[in-house]
């Protein structure tokens, strides 16, 4: 019998894990963006002395994890499990950073939803008594994502206005059974929603219904309303997806005006940085959550946050076969109090 299940799909954690440390590393473009003062480390060179973009991404993730462990006042030996993922084929950025770290490793693929997927699973592992300290991490890199999903960097193609810009960066969060908050109190896993969008340059529109589905189920299961939160922030829907969610949620009876935003919208300045519809990639929600959200919670600006990273679970191969883009959103509640 499940003691911790609420309603249709939400989990209420009875021993909510605490976030005891975190760290963010971003590339130069992100470090020039509106949230530049929230990041722990900004790179001058997004190759970071490595031979390839993929190796650079892996290094960024590894260093973010090491620094987060430091930030929590722990050492690598204190960590029970590492739960991480990224966008590269066979999630190699994570596998290769785990090779360096020597921590028992669970690799996840949730595309850009990986940050909340890892936090959700990590929280449940700790709540269940399976571990004391867990690292949740993700990364993405503009240049490794471009070559895998789009065109070579020097190829002369125009980007459409609905396209998003993959964030170069990594965020790592340390969850612990000890600590004084903020706590992860609820987890609402998403199911796959596919609104039939086939255009891989319009991910925001493909993912927006998945975000809405998870938010609505979260409210129904927990009995919370949007006003119970100081901030509701989704993964990387960008400007197009954010606007769709605001409109359609209103039709469903949830007015999110003023408390809702999206990591992809916050991470870049579309006018100054020419990023079109905003940021995307696993690293997008990872750096906005670990940088902006947690730091503002520490300052006391937000007491309770609903964070739902969104992911598009397609590949270039299957898109070429004519398939539409299935999407997912996992949501977690972060609260400065454990009750």
């Amino acid at each position: 019998m499940s003691l911790k299940k609420l309603g249709n799909r939400t989990v209420k954690l009875l021993n909510p894990p605490s976030i005891i440390g975190n760290y963010t590393i971003v590339g130069p473009k992100e470090g020039d963006g509106p949230l530049k003062n929230y990041y722990d480390q900004i790179l001058d060179d997004d190759l970071w002395g490595q031979e390839s973009w993929e190796k650079a991404e892996s290094k960024i993730q590894e260093e973010a994890i090491r620094a987060a462990v430091d930030n929590a006042g722990l050492s690598i030996q204190d960590i029970d499990y590492l739960i991480s993922g990224d966008l590269l084929n066979q999630i190699v950025a994570s596998g290769y950073s785990a090779r360096q770290l020597g921590i028992p490793y669970f690799g996840l693929y949730g595309a850009c939803s990986t940050m909340t997927e890892s936090l959700a699973l990590g929280s449940m592992l700790i709540d269940g008594g399976f571990a004391d300290n867990i690292i949740c991490a993700t990364s993405s890199h503009f240049s490794s994502a471009e070559r895998q999903f789009r065109f070579p960097l020097e190829y002369a193609a125009q980007r459409v206005f609905s396209a998003q810009w993959t964030v170069t960066g990594s965020g790592a969060t340390i969850l612990s059974s000890y600590g004084s908050g903020p706590y992860i109190t609820h987890v609402t896993p998403g199911k796959i929603i596919d609104p039939g969008i086939k255009d891989a340059s319009n991910m925001g529109a493909a993912m927006a219904p998945a975000a809405m589905d998870t938010l609505i189920h979260h409210f129904r299961d927990t009995g919370f309303s949007p006003s119970d939160y100081d901030l509701i922030i989704t993964g990387d829907l960008g400007l197009v997806g954010k606007s769709i969610v605001l409109d359609m949620m209103k039709k469903e009876g949830y007015d999110l005006t003023g408390i809702f935003t999206d990591c992809g919208v916050e991470v870049f300045d579309p006018q100054k940085q020419d990023t079109h519809a905003g940021g995307s990639g696993c690293g997008c929600s990872a750096v906005v959550f670990n940088g902006f959200v947690l730091k503002e919670m520490a300052k006391g600006r937000y007491k309770r946050v609903l964070f739902g990273a969104t992911g598009a679970l397609h590949s270039t191969l299957i898109t070429q076969q004519g398939e539409s883009i299935p999407s997912i959103c996992h949501a977690i509640t972060i609260d400065i109090n454990s009750e």
Partner: protein, 147 residues
């Protein structure tokens, strides 16, 4: 969300997605494409003036323009021209050169056989397949309808 109507949703999305700046894009394509072709005309006139025959001029101009497209791609300039000029940079033969050089550079990290040499043709390969294939058909038809 289970009862989401895909057609209605598509209409909503189409309203939300910002439209391309059609007029500006067309003007920029015209200007950039026009400039590239005019440069080609300059080389054509030069090669004619030094006494090349028609076939040599045509081949010579192709080689020069391909070289320029390749060099600008290598220097990291052609993708910026493409961002401004769109089809104005993609359609000329310099864009064909760009489509070869860009993946060749990008996949150097995977080695010189399966990286550079094989990925060179990810975009140009289809161009050659359809171009050469259809030209053979045209040649054969020209025998059939001779006269």
């Amino acid at each position: 969300m289970d009862k989401l109507n895909k057609k209605d949703y598509e209409n909503l999305v189409n309203k939300k997605v910002p439209k391309p700046t059609y007029g500006k894009n067309m003007i920029m394509a015209f200007i950039v494409g026009g400039i590239i072709c005019t440069i080609g005309q300059g080389f054509t006139n030069y090669l004619q003036s030094v006494g090349f025959n028609e076939e040599q001029v045509s081949t010579g101009v192709s080689i020069i323009m391909v070289f320029l497209g390749s060099l600008l791609t290598g220097l990291g300039i052609y993708d910026k021209i493409g961002k401004i000029g769109g089809a104005g940079a993609a359609v000329p033969i310099t864009g064909f050169a760009n489509s070869i050089v860009a993946p060749a550079m990008e996949y150097k990290s995977e080695g010189f056989i399966f990286g550079v040499a094989s990925k060179m043709f990810i975009i140009a390969g289809p161009v050659l397949v359809y171009g050469v294939g259809s030209s053979i058909i045209v040649g054969l038809l020209s025998i059939l309808f001779k006269g």
